[in-house]
Symmetry: D2
Subunit: 396 residues, 4 copies
C-alpha cells in the first residue's frame, strides 16, 4: 500500500492532514461573502511569507508556469529585451517562454550546478547604458540541479549599474521553504505555486508584483486575458475572481498560511535547512557528490545527487518506485541520467526523511553501487539527534 510512503520528490510535497481536509470542502457559492473570508487572508498571508509590506498578490488557478506567464504578459511588450541565465531546466523553460512571447532574451549560459552569475549580470547591466534590458530573470532555486542563487547579489548588480530593469524571481521551489525577501531584495515579480512550500496540491500560480511592476502593467501590450492582473484585481475588490475560483484549494492555502505563520516563517526556513543538512551528510557518507557545485549554492529543498559515470541515475528512481513504492526525482535536461533527486521540502519529519534515505540506500545497493547499507541513515541520524526538531503536533 504504497500510498502511505512519503514522497521525496521536489514537489508536490507530502500534505498535512489538516490541509487536505481544508482543501476537501463542500461546494459554496464563490460569490458569497464566505469566499472573501478565504481570499483576503490568503493574499495577506502570502505577502507575509514573501517578507513584503506592499507586494500586490495575485493567485490564479494555474501552476508556477502560469505564474511566469503572468509576470511576462502583464509587464512587457513584444520585442522587449530580457536578461536571463540558463543554469537548469526551469531557467531554460522560462527563457523559452520569453521567446514564444516575442521577447529578446539575452541568455547567459551558465553551467548546470552553478548559481546565477551575478558578476556577469553586473557587467552586462553596466554595459546596457541605453537600458534596453527591461527585466532581469532569476531562478532562485533551480529544482533540477538543487542549486540556489544569490538574489541579493543580482539586486546589487542592478543597483551598482543604476539600472532601472525590473527583477523577476522564480521562487517556485524556494518560497515558503527557503529565505525569500521580496522587499529587501527589491524583487518586482515573484512567482511560485501551491504544491511546494505551501504543501498543497498543484493548481495555484501565486505571484507578487511590486508597485513598479504594477505601473509597468498599465502600459504593457502583450496579449493577456486569463492571466490579466487587472481583471484579477477588479475581482478581488469584489471578493471574487474574474472567473470561478478554486475555492477548496484557496481554503487549503488559507490553512497552510496559518500553519506556516504560526510556526514563524524563519522557523520554517530553519526546519528546511535542518532536514536538508541531514540529507547532505547522508550523501557524503555514501561517498557521492551533489550536482550543486559548492556549499553556498546548496538548496534546502532538493538535493540532486550525482551517480558514478556509466551508471544511469534514473534507474534508481524507477527501481524505488517499482520495488519500494517510493518516489524520488529523476534528473532533467542536461543532467538526465546523471543525477537523481531527493526532495526535502514541505511537510517532512526526521522519521520520514530517514525512511527516504534508507530506501535510496537499498536502491543503490540493489543496482550495484558500492553503498554501505545504513551509512547515510547513520550520518543523518547523528545530525538529527544532535539538532532535535521542534516537534509540531497537529492539534487533534
Amino acid at each position: 500500500m504504497s500510498f502511505q510512503n512519503p514522497v521525496f520528490i521536489p514537489g508536490p510535497t507530502n500534505m498535512p492532514e489538516a490541509i487536505r481536509q481544508a482543501c476537501s470542502m463542500p461546494t459554496i457559492d464563490h460569490r458569497s461573502p464566505i469566499f472573501g473570508n478565504i481570499l483576503h487572508p490568503c493574499l495577506d498571508g502570502v505577502r507575509k511569507v514573501l517578507k513584503s509590506e506592499s507586494a500586490h498578490i495575485f493567485i490564479f488557478p494555474s501552476t508556477g508556469t502560469g505564474g511566469w506567464e503572468t509576470a511576462l504578459s502583464n509587464t512587457l511588450n513584444s520585442g522587449d529585451t530580457v536578461l536571463a541565465a540558463r543554469n537548469g531546466m526551469f531557467s531554460h523553460r522560462w527563457i523559452d517562454m520569453c521567446q514564444r512571447h516575442g521577447l529578446d532574451v539575452q541568455v547567459v549560459e551558465t553551467p548546470w550546478g552553478h548559481g546565477l552569475p551575478a558578476d556577469e549580470y553586473a557587467a552586462i547591466l553596466k554595459a546596457d547604458t541605453n537600458h534596453k534590458i527591461k527585466v532581469v530573470l532569476a531562478t532562485h532555486n533551480e529544482t533540477a540541479t538543487g542549486v540556489k542563487s544569490d538574489i541579493a547579489a543580482v539586486r546589487a548588480a542592478l543597483d551598482a549599474a543604476n539600472h532601472p530593469a525590473m527583477l523577476f524571481v522564480d521562487g517556485v521551489s524556494s518560497i515558503a521553504s527557503m529565505d525569500f525577501r521580496f522587499d529587501a531584495w527589491g524583487v518586482d515579480v515573484a512567482v511560485t505555486g501551491s504544491q511546494k512550500g505551501f504543501m498543497l496540491p498543484a493548481g495555484l500560480a501565486i505571484v507578487g508584483f511590486s508597485d513598479k511592476a504594477m505601473t509597468a502593467s498599465e502600459t504593457a501590450t502583450l496579449p493577456r486575458a486569463f492571466f490579466d492582473i487587472k481583471d484579477m484585481q477588479n475581482g478581488y475588490d469584489n471578493n471574487a475572481f474574474p472567473y470561478t475560483p478554486p475555492v477548496g484549494l484557496m481554503n487549503g492555502l488559507k490553512h497552510a498560511l496559518d500553519l506556516l505563520l504560526d510556526e514563524g516563517i524563519d522557523n520554517v526556513i530553519a526546519r528546511h535547512t535542518r532536514i536538508a543538512t541531514g540529507v547532505r551528510l547522508a550523501v557524503a557518507a555514501w561517498g557521492l557528490e551533489l550536482c550543486a557545485a559548492s556549499p553556498d549554492v546548496y538548496s534546502d529543498t532538493v538535493s540532486a545527487i550525482k551517480t558514478p559515470d556509466g551508471f544511469n541515475a534514473t534507474d534508481i528512481v524507477t527501481h524505488a518506485d517499482q520495488v519500494y513504492g517510493v518516489a524520488f526525482g529523476v534528473g532533467l535536461g542536461d543532467v538526465a541520467g546523471k543525477v537523481f533527486r531527493i526532495g526535502h521540502l514541505g511537510s517532512l519529519t526526521d522519521v520520514m526523511m530517514l525512511s527516504g534515505l534508507a530506501t535510496a540506500e537499498m536502491c543503490m545497493a540493489d543496482l550495484g553501487l558500492n553503498i554501505k547499507l545504513g551509512s547515510g541513515v547513520a550520518a543523518a541520524q547523528e545530525y538529527y539527534r544532535a539538532n532535535p526538531a521542534a516537534i509540531i503536533k497537529d492539534a487533534a
Copy 2:
C-alpha cells in the same frame, strides 16, 4: 450549519461524496506510471462525453476562461477575423478576450434571452466570399440568461455557405449536462470546465480540438506557452503534463467520468431535462417568467427568472444567503437586478431541488413579492411524481 444545504448556483455544482473523496488524494509522484492511469481514462472519457470519435482532448489546470484562451491562442493569428454574437455575459467576455488578443471580432448584437442568430450568421457567412472569417464563436448555453442555442443550426449556416471557418463552441455550462455533439455538429473546438456537468471543484479547463483545429495550431502565431496544446500533447505522450498536473482533480475527473458514462450520457441529459422541467413549472406557478425568450431556448442547467419591474432580483440572492443559508445566482451584466438564477445541474435530486424551490418561495414572500407559499413546490412535486427519477444510489 449552512454548508449542508445544497447550492443552486449554475456551477460549481454539488459534489457527490465519491468524487470529493477521489479528489482528496494523498500526494503521488506525477511522473510515475500511476498518473498515466488517471490521465488517459480522462482523455478518453471526455471524448465520449463530447460524443466524438476523434477529438483531441486537452485538460489544463485552469478554468473555462483558460479554455477559451486555449482555443484562440492555438489556432489564430493577430488580426484574424472572428464572428460572434453577444447575447449574454459569457459571449460578451469571450468577445472581449478576442479583442485583447488582437482579433477582429465581427459582433452580432443579439437580445439577451435569445439564442444565437443562426440566420444572421448564415447571411454573414454567405456574404464573406473571401473567407475572411476564420472562426465562428458560439456559446452553447448562456449561463447568464439560461438560454441554449442551436449549434446544429450554426453548423448548417456554415455548410450552406460552404464556408471553411472553424466552429468554436463554449459548452462550459452545457457539456456533460445537455446534449452536445462534437462530431455531428462539426465542432472544431469545444470548451468546458470541471465545475459544472463534471461535478468537480473549479480548476480544470477541458477542451476538445478537431483535426482541422489541430492543423490550424501548427501555423497559428498568437503567443502561447501555458496553454500551448503542442506542449501538452508532448506531455501526454509521456503520461505527463508539461508542468505539474493537478493530480487529485484529475483523479476526481476520472471518477466523475466513470459515474457519467456508467449512467449513460443520454440518461444524464434526460435527468437534467427532468429536473429543469420541474423548476420551470414552479416558475410558471409563481406567475413569473424566464429570461429565456421561448421554450426552444430554455436551458436545462440554469433558469434565469425575471422579477417584476422595480424589484431588485439580487435581493433574493442576498436574502437567501443571509437568512436561509442557500446560494442562488445573481443576474449578471445587462440583466443584473432583473433576474435571479437557479442552477439545476450536476448532482441533484428531486428532494434537493424542491428544497431550493421552497427556499426561493420564502425569499420572494419575505421580500414582498406576491408568491403563494408552496405553489411552485407543488407544481414541481406533481411533475416529479408523474415522472419518477431512476434513483442512483452511491455504492456503499
Copy 3:
C-alpha cells in the same frame, strides 16, 4: 446519488462536515498525551450538556443500549426491584434488559403515545414503604412514538414519597437536543449515545452517574467487565480507557461539543423546538395526527405521524427510500404500520427540513392518501419565515 439527500430518521442524524472530518483522524497512539487532550474535554463537555456540575461521565465504545447495561450492571444486584413504565419500544427494551439481568421489574403499562405516568409512579412509590424499589427507570423521549415525558414530575413523585430510589433516565433521543437537567431533576444515571444530538456516527454509549449512583456501584454485584465504570475511571485517571478507545469518534465528540457549547445549549434546544414546530404544522396541514397524545408530550426530535386506518404507514418509508432516496423512520412495536416517523434532530436547516416534508407529501400522494401537494411545506414555510433561524455558517 441519494447519499446527498438529508436523512430524516430519528438518528443517526445528518453530520456536519467538520464533525465528519474530526472523526476521520489518522491513527495516533491512544496511550500518548494527545488522547488525554481529547478525552477530558469530552467528559467536561458532556457534563455541561447534561446541565450538571458534578455528574461522573463515562463514555464506552458501544451504543445507548450499552449505556443502559452500564447503568444497571454497575448499580444493582440480582433480584433488585425496579419500577418502569412501558409506553414505547425503547422503554420496552429496557424493561426486557432488566429482566435478563435478573431484576424484578414492576411494570406500569402505559398507552403508547402517552408520557410517563408520574401520578402512578407517585402512588407506587408512596406505597413502597419498605423501599424495595431501588431504581425508577424513565425514558425521557420515546423515539418510537415521538413522546417526551416529564422527568421533573418523576423526581417530584420520588421526593413526595420521600423515596430513596435512584432515578435512571434514558435520554438517548433527547440529550443535546431537548432540555435535560441532570442536577435540577435529580437524575442518578443519564444514558445517551453519539448518533443523536451529538451528530456523530453510532459507536459511543455516553452515561452520567450521580454521586449516589457512584456509591451504589461500590456494592453492586451484577457481573460486569466491559461496562465497569470503575475500570473506566481508572483508565481516565491515566488519560486512557481500560481497552483501546475509539479515538476518532472521541475526537468527533470533542468537536461536536465545541459546536454545541459555542452555540449555547439553550439555543440548541430552541433550534430543535423551532424546526419541530414547522413539522407539526405541516402534519396538521395534511390533516393528520401525531401518535403523541397531546401537545405537552410532543417530542422536539421526532414526530410519529399516524396514517388513516387500513393504510400501511411503513409503505411510505419504503416508497421514500425506493423512489426518492429519502429515509424516514418506520413505526416500531405496537405502532408498526400505524405511524411513520420524521426525525428532526441534529444538523438540520429549514431548507433540509422542507425537502423532507415535500418528499413525505409526494410519497403520501403517490400511495393514494388525500394529501394536497405543497400544503405541509407551505405551513412550515410560513412558520419558518415568521421565526427565522440564526444561520450558523461553518467557518471555512
Copy 4:
C-alpha cells in the same frame, strides 16, 4: 507535523487511505437495504479470514474486550470452570473477566515470554475425567510480550484427552495478520477487534462461534443483553443490528476485507512474517533480545524488546513521542519498564518499518544505550532487499 509519521504500536495500526475514506461515510438509514449490502459481505469475509466454512460471525460496536465478554456470557453459567494460562497482560485480563462473571478459573501460571503450556493443558484435561472444565481459554498472540502460542497443540491436548471442553481463542492481535485456522484447530469461539489486522479504527468486537458454541448459547445463563448473540442473529436476519450499528466502521470493514481477500490471506500472513523478520534482525544487530523466549513463539505482529537491566524501557517510548513524534508501545504488567514494543502489523511497508527502526536507534542512543546508529536499519535493509515485497499500490 507528527501525525504523518507512521505509528509502531501493536494496534491500532496505520490505516490505508481507502479504508479511512470507506469509514467516513455520510449518514444512511441503517434500516434500509443498503446496510444489508454492507453487513453480509462483512460476515462472509470475516469467516474467510478465520479460515472457516461454518463459523457464525457476530460483530458488535465494542472492542476485543467486549468480544471476550460475548464469548463468556453467551456460553457459560455462573460457577462453571474454565482453564486458562496467564502468560501476559491480555490472558491476565481475560482471567480477571472470568472471575468477575463468577467463573471458576483454573489458572496455569506461565512465565511471561513463554507460549501456552500445551503439555500442562494436556495433563490437566486428562485428569479432568468429570469434564468439569467447560472451556479452555487460549490467547493466540500475547500482545504484551510478543509471544504467539500453538493453538493446534491446545486442540491436540483436548483431543488426546477426549475432552469435550470448548476452545476459546483470543486472536485480537493475530487474526488477519498471522495464520489462524478456526476450522482446522477446532476453535469454538474466536475473538478479535477492528483495530489490528483489519486496519480500522477501534470500535468493533468481532467474534466467531462454532456450532458447538452456538448450542451452548441456548442454555447459558450468564446475564447478557448488549452482547447477546441471539438478538444479534435476529437482527442480521433482517439486515439489521438489535440497536444502531456503526455503519461507517462496518463499511470500512467491508473494504478492509476486500483488500485482504484480494491480496489473499496467506499472502497477508507472509507479508507480516517478512516485515517482522526484518525487525527481529534489527534487534539482533542492536545486541538486544526479545521478551519472547524462543523463535517458535516469536510474534509476527509485535516484538517486545528487552532493554538492559537498570534501564527503564518506557523512557524510549516517551522519548520517541516527545522528541521524534513516533509511537512505540510500552511494556505492560510484569514487563513494564523492562521492554518496549514495536508493532509491525497492518498497513506497513519496508519504508515505514525502516523509519521506525531508525527512530528506535536514535532514541536508544539518545538515552545512553550502546547502540550503533544505522546498525538495525542495515540489518533490516539487507533482509528486505533480499526478499522484496510484492508492492501493493492502491488503485488511484
